[in-house]
Amino acid sequence: MIARALGLPRLRFNGLFGGAMVALLVLVAIIGPWLAPYDPLKLDLMARLQAPSAMHVLGTDEFGRDILSRLIYGARTSAWIAFSTVAFAIVLGVVFGVLAGFLRGWTDRILMMFNDAFLAFPGLLLALGFMAVFGASRNGIIVALGLAYMPVVVRVVRGTVMSIREREFVEASRVMGNSEIVTMMRHVLPNCIAPITVLATTMFGWIILSESALSFLGLGVPPPAPSWGNMLSTARPYISQAPHLIILPGLCISVTLLAVNMLGDAVRDWLDPKMQD
């Protein structure tokens, strides 16, 4: 609607708005330590549950910690976890996807049997299972969510490799005497970049959502380190006394997800004309 008022096509607007917001998130995550007015962990029991004021722009939490600083460090946490998890899932997914798609035969059949079984778990359930094993920790989340979302990557990469390896230019590379590995690296993999980019953008959103859900359940980022999810969880008992403790972190998650979803729509339409509507 705003797009129309500004006279932009919707997708251009999606890409610009989503991209700008995601860039802002990344920027805040990087320069967070210089941006935050207070130490996010510093207790001030005299200033508990304060409403927004000149001293604390967004108020304080149940231990008198500055909310704005905690939200900024929370952005750092979410962005770092989301980036590492997407990278982890993509790297593993590409390795297995390429192996399955290129070697085919029994390798493919066995890999896919396990992959499909992993896909048969709802993502969050598998992540919860892994968290039960690792215990709540930052690296635990990265591995758990990475493993939980990897099967989707494997599916997409394998499908793309399967279709590309039948194309003429791949055959041409073989005829020219290039080895399978060279053909793979030089001609097949580069053509997988578009679908992987689309998937990575979407996954970035899934991971931010899942991480905040895990942290909200107490199985994600362990307190006192701030994450948007665990801020919501620890603020629950104070919902009637200090509603801003609930409103602000959720708003951060929602705005971030909205931005990622809009960027995702734009990236998909840009790189994958088949899906364009």
Partner: protein
Amino acid sequence: MVRFLLTRIASSIPTLLIVSATVFMLMRLIPGDPATLMLGDLAQPGQVEAMRRQMGLDQPIAVQFLIWMGNVLTGDFGQSIATRQDVLPLILDRFSVSATIVLVAVFFAALIAVPAGMFAAWRQDRFSDIAVIAISTLLLSIPSFWMGLMLLLIFGLQLGWLPIVGYVPFSRDFTGALLYIIMPVITLVLVESGSITRMARASTIEVSRLDYITHARAKGLSESAVMWRHAFKNAFAPTWTLIGLILGSLLANIAVIETVFTIPGLGRLLIDGIYARDYPVVQGCMLFIAFIYVVVNLIVDLIYPLLDPRVTA
């Protein structure tokens, strides 16, 4: 047709086997000895040894898995370490709570979102279409637990219209139960209708470009006849798959909603089990939820040919 049904059913058997093996292995990776956990800190070494034998933990891992599978198939999911209750009845009891909320929520979400998506597709690129997409993208971006907390804050605390926490079974107090599940259900309806609307819109647009729709229009049929008689069935098929996926995955995702509204559902049982290291409960819940997910998707696939007969070919 029969062949399609049988292959589809058979193909889910290896999936279920690997799913069970995964759950089993995950539980074995949890640090700590189950027998020691079962007996508590004060157990003598001899008792632990006896318990390990009784629980079959001295057997090779493959044997342990087979014994466990055998037990699961006969409905024996083991006993909770914390309460000594049988796990399966516990799960079924909690499942009825979660399933009620999920089924009601997904039903209403589909009822609202499918027509909304088709409407948006029909008005493609006009103001009402853009409004529908904007709202559904927004809904899609709000995490369910925050949506729940906001409803709780507004309707429970500020306005005081609805009870804020708890649950009563429908069998005990129908109106009371209704009041308790209104907010969790509305939360899920709002959150899930976002993705269903977008899917319904995208697949309707795809179908409406096909020649047979142009043909139907050229015959002089009214727009609503074209939409409902010709486009709907084909457009609904992919959305139906999505609804199935949502139905299954909500059983795991509902843990956050049950936490917000303090509802004693299956998700909460799983989370509390993880906290308490009550591994038979965790194992049982994970296996049960994964099985339901596989079975729901199987049922969805089996119904699919009724919507789109081409898949059996």
